[in-house]
Structure formats: C-alpha cells, structure tokens
Amino acid sequence: MNDRIEKRIELKAPVSRVWRALTDYREFGEWFRVKLDGPFVPGQISRGQMTYPGYEHVKWEAVVQKMEPEKLFSFTWPHPKSFEKADTPPDYSKEPVTLVEFRLEKTATGTLLVLTESGFDKLLADRRLEAFRRNEGGWTQQLKNIESYVAQKP
C-alpha cells in the first residue's frame, strides 16, 4: 500500500487545451463538478461548492500552490472526517491536507497528464480514519452506496 496515488492519462488534446481545462476555474469546475467562487491564484485559497451528485452539501476549499504554465498545477486540500451532512461544517484549517499535482507533457498524440496525490501518511497519523472504521459498515458500505448511486446517474 503506497502513501501516494499516481494516475497517468493520455489525452488527445494539445497541452494548452489541457492546461486551460485544469487552471481556468470555470472549466475546472465543469469536469471536476464544483462551482468555484473565483480564479485559481498561487498562494490563495480557492473556495466553492461541490456539484457532484450526492456531494452537493460538501464545500470545496483548496490552497493553490504552483502554476507553472503548461507544466505543473498543484494545490493542497483537506480531507474531512466525513463527507456526510453535518450540522456544523468542518473547520478546514484544522484538517490534515494532501498535495495534488497535475503535471503535463507534450506527446506525439497530445498530452500526457500525470496526477499525483501525496501526504496520506498525515491522515494515518491523525487517526481520523478510525471514525470511518467504527461507523456502521465503514467505508466499504459508503463505497457501495456511492457506486450504486453513480450507476443510476452516469
């Protein structure tokens, strides 16, 4: 079990197109499914509301890290204890964060995008996942709920 997630995806689109889809806050919002309050600015907090079905109550909050044009876009974001509706929304300044990095490379067919999310060791050290395990069914059940929900609404 690794301490990071890495995904590599080949996109049949020019690097400039992919860069725009990642860093233009309206375009990002369209495919990520979040309604963002404003543009991404390195060093600043990006805020918004998820529009992904089932998660509309979840707030988006991220701190933009690097924006190296057509090369690297990164941000840190918190992992709250639960994605369920709560009476009081989580205080994101207190949650451990992971680092999300999008790296772009020009290829013969378009763009190679490498997504890396790292820093999960902090979540383990923070003991927050015990709450998930102790909940009825834990994450496995949540996953099943989400899978069946998403299958109904592709």
Binding site: A21, F32, L129, R133
Partner: protein, 101 residues
C-alpha cells in the same frame, strides 16, 4: 512494509516493532526489547507513538503490560485510499471527455 505506514511512523524501529507484533501475539516490553540494541526506555517511547496512531494497544496482564497490534487504522486507510483512487479515475475520465470533444 507498506510505504504509507513507514511514512506515517517515520522510523525503522517502529516499523520493526509493528512487524514483531503483527503476527498477532501479545508481547511484553521485555520480549520486544530482546535482540534490539535499544534500551527498554527507548522501546517504550516508540510504543507510545504507535499507541498514538492507534495501531498498538497495551493490555494489562499480570505484572507487565503487553502490547498488541490493531490493524484497523491501516485497513481503514487502505479502504480510504481505494476510495480516493476510484474518485480520481472518474474525475480524470470526465476531464478526458471534456478536452477531447
């Protein structure tokens, strides 16, 4: 050992303690100190860190405490990572559709 656990624990000694315990036995500090160059005190300090993360619990048995391994935080983390990974697969598929149209 898992890269994640290593990163979280940040220490080869803690990792070897977890390795000794994850066979499922209850171990005393004496047993855990055996064969190590570290003192009983040092081992105890490391055990406290592991208790803090929730993967080790102490059990009172007679004169000495014994320690046992609890896999639940690690299992929980694995489930969570699988969940996040699946979310990214879906998000990136949506990105692909979005830019390729």
């Amino acid at each position: 050992m898992h890269a994640l656990v290593f990163a979280a624990l940040g220490d080869a000694t803690r990792l070897s303690l977890v390795a000794k315990l994850c066979g499922g036995q209850l171990c005393s500090i004496s047993q855990l100190t055996r064969g190590s160059r570290l003192t009983r005190q040092a081992i105890t300090k490391h055990l406290r860190v592991l208790e803090g993360v929730g993967i080790v619990h102490s059990v009172r048995k007679g004169r000495e405490s014994r320690f046992e391994f609890d896999p639940r935080p690690i299992e929980g983390m694995k489930e969570y990572l699988d969940f996040v990974s699946a979310q990214w697969d879906q998000a990136l598929a949506r990105l692909k559709s979005f830019v390729e149209d």
